[in-house]
């Protein structure tokens, strides 16, 4: 520990480099946050240097509240099967983020969907997956129930 005292000049240089690197990287997120957001690379890429954009999106009266998405599978016979999030073996946040990626058309999320359906619904012959919104709407007096409608459909590749 007392090595710090013996080599104080070198120590101060090391500390200075450390401080400048970390604080500089974190400060740069203030300048480049716009760029990072636009490129869709916001997130964990540079963790533990982060853009602290939690709860940053403005919301308005009438917005449907994204508590989580509801899923339904359509079989090759046309039968509609509800797919509860618990049945997919994902934790809450993994489910929320995967389903959000799915709705945004992310190709990797479609691959994950195929894997999940293969692992957890092997006996079903799903041809389509439907994503429905959570049935809550925002008003100035809080949330009111609303209809849950299909907001996204995706064809399910053969996974047997």
């Amino acid at each position: 520990m007392y090595i710090f005292s013996k080599y104080s000049k070198i120590y101060r240089v090391v500390v200075t480099v450390f401080v400048l690197t970390i604080l500089g990287a974190q400060a740069s997120t203030l300048i480049f946050a716009q760029l990072i957001n636009q490129q869709g690379t916001t997130g964990v890429r540079f963790w533990p240097i982060l853009v602290y954009d939690m709860y940053a999106k403005a919301r308005h009266e009438g917005d449907i509240i994204d508590v989580n998405f509801l899923l339904e599978g359509v079989t090759d016979t046309g039968r509609v099967v509800p797919i509860p999030k618990e049945s997919l073996g994902l934790g809450f946040w993994h489910y929320v983020k995967w389903s959000r990626n799915l709705v945004s058309g992310n190709e990797k999320a479609i691959v994950t969907m195929t894997e999940l359906l293969r692992d957890h619904y092997p006996e079903h012959h799903f041809v389509e997956l439907r994503v429905k919104n959570y049935p809550l709407k925002l008003t100035s007096k809080g949330a009111v129930p609303t209809e849950s409608v299909v907001i996204y459909k995706v064809a399910v590749p053969e996974y047997k």
Partner: protein, 319 residues
Amino acid sequence: MNIVGGWRKFWFSDGSYFDLAIVRIMAVGLQCYVLLLAGPGAYDSLASLPSSLYHPIPILRVLMFPFVGADIVRPDTALLVQCYWITLLAGFAGLAGFATNLSLLVFAVGNIFLQSYSYSFQDYHHPDAIMMVALCALALAPCGRVLSMDSILNAQRHRANGVTVSLLDYKGSDATWAIKFIQCFFSLMYLSAVASKFIVSGLDWANGYTLQYYYVQDGTRWESSLGLWASQHHFLVFLSQWVVLLFQATYFLIIFFPKLRWFYLPVGLCFHIGIYLTLRAPFPEWMIFYAAYIPWTAAFKLFSNMRIKVPTISSPRVS
């Protein structure tokens, strides 16, 4: 004063080792608790996730590079569990102040490895980044100089030729920077939070509906009746959104005017406790690092020198 002189004065002026040790104990103690709470079983549930969800983040790749090269391999659960126990052991050693800097270095790297692995499944959260960064700073700082096994062992070693100094008066020029670093990093986090709101939404963010929305969203997800209650009061929420913006945008002033901490710290604590009670979003790391702003040495001196009036004893007690 030139830039180098100013830099030296800011980062390397005399500071108390006691303050630094308190921050070490609180930070490492919390992180050990977080690790114990998660348990080694957390890696079993991650192992069961589909491989298509796994996209190792750069820092995980860097840490794994010496072992697997550029391959995107998924570390097996046994390795993660071993790493978990080594990290926890290092944490307890760091907490006790045994081989403090080495222990904290292992603890920091272990935590970064484990956390970056769990964040490689397209899910991450904001609270723990400051802990990782602060652990690295503490591993570099002389935070085991007092309140540690190292200090006891060192005192025994130098019993014959050492000088004695009061614990609270033990100061050094290398004791300040880590605390100031955490303070500055904290300010940048809040600035990032307010900048993100302006970049993503502009002033429209503070329209009242935004926070109402999040109260309903998280209140429903985590069954927070307080969050759902708060979501019904538009004007109150509107006002609190402006308070949040002002708080986050001006928090950095605490660096230049330390007395402001007596305003910002209680407000910040209420702010994070409120977030937890309504949105069920825990930020324990952020709350614990408020400790970096407290002048512990001065507070202990104040209390130890405080004189109180006691009632006069009419007849002396006989034991």
